[in-house]
Amino acid sequence: MNPVEPDLDRLRRAWASWSDGAVPTEACPEPDRLWAAVRGELAPEATRGLVEHTLTCGACAESWRLAREVGGPLPLPEALNPALGRPRWGRFGTLLAAAAAAVVVATMVARPRPSPYREIGAVVVRSRLPEGRPLSRSQCVLRWSPGPTGSRYDVRVATEDLTMVAAVRGLEVTEYRVPEGALARLPSGAKLLWQVEALSPDGTRLSSMTFVTPIE
């Protein structure tokens, strides 16, 4: 307890509890901006504007506290700069970035996901495409096994370097035709990474693994 302001802890708890379950709105600033404000990286006028927003937005008030509680000079256990400096083969930066991105993708694909988030009971969303067989650009139809009865599906499709190719929400069927135009700039043999999220009628979400499908 603060000896000078005996009720301060209680006031702070009351203020914090006002954020419980608060739903963000379209007016909420980007998290980056809240972070910058808390760390004193914004102009005072801008910071005051954000403080005012937190008065009417419990969600942002909570986010503000999260940023503040991190506090300090923020060291990370592993020194980053020496190891992350540019290597001798600097002119191959693109190659390196692509290789690193590929590792991320490989992790996405290989990462074991046993959590309930990925499975509901025995239901698992799986690809129904023959593994490794390329799809034609004009008939690039992604298919998957159904989620719980009555599910709707959100699908995201990206390239290996994680550039978004297409996305769709609320499908009622277990297939999605990727628009041919979205594939126009991809080279022959490019691999599509795609993921399905099933939203069941009771609001439960079920995400698939990330599938990899080449295109002709």
């Binding site: 009720d7 998290p31 404000a37 999260l66 540019r86 083969w89 390196l96 609001g203």
Partner: protein, 180 residues
């Protein structure tokens, strides 16, 4: 011209770099992520990794990824996940409350706490603007020197604003029948 060895070295370097980035993001997310969101920590790390790799790709590997930047990415990914869950209303109140309001496990005290919270919010909105800014930062946990720096005012002025603002807040709460 790229030699085979050069490509192998580059690939090894990229893999080490990825592993290091991931370890650091795991630690940052673990520090930032509220307890009630811990089940989503793995997904938050993955989202943060994708952002970092996107920056690397756009900069053709030239981006400087210092610790400050990684903390910011970890924070943004965490807040995005909180917002996503809140918009879908997937976070039951009872999962949130115990962390910030220990009274929440007792329904009667919880109701009283909720009334105080609402009262505090209403009273804050009635404060004179400058006092309001200072008191809100004070309630968010900022000390006077830090609040002064964020608001761009002198420490003495902010100290005065906090003092007077808290007095106004208490008076307002008492007028509402709430004992602060």
């Amino acid at each position: 011209m790229t030699t085979g060895r050069g490509i192998e070295d580059a690939a090894v370097w990229a893999e080490e770099r990825h592993a290091q980035l991931r370890r650091n993001l795991v630690r940052a997310v673990a520090r930032i992520c509220p307890r009630w969101l811990a089940a989503q920590a793995d997904d938050i790390v993955q989202a943060a990794m994708i952002r970092v790799m996107g920056i690397l790709r756009e900069s053709e590997g030239k981006a400087t990824l210092n610790a400050s930047y990684l903390w910011r990415v970890a924070y943004s990914a965490t807040v995005d996940e909180i917002r996503r869950l809140r918009r879908r209303r997937e976070v039951p109140l009872e999962e949130v409350s115990p962390e910030v309001l220990p009274d929440a496990l007792d329904p009667e005290r919880s109701r009283a706490g909720s009334e105080i919270a609402q009262g505090v919010n209403e009273c804050l909105q009635r404060l004179v603007e400058a006092r309001r800014f200072a008191v809100v930062l004070h309630l968010q946990g900022h000390g006077v020197p830090e609040a002064a720096r964020l608001l761009g005012w002198g420490a003495k002025r902010v100290e005065n604003l906090v003092y007077r603002g808290l007095a106004d807040l208490r008076r307002c709460l008492v007028a509402k029948g709430i004992k602060p």
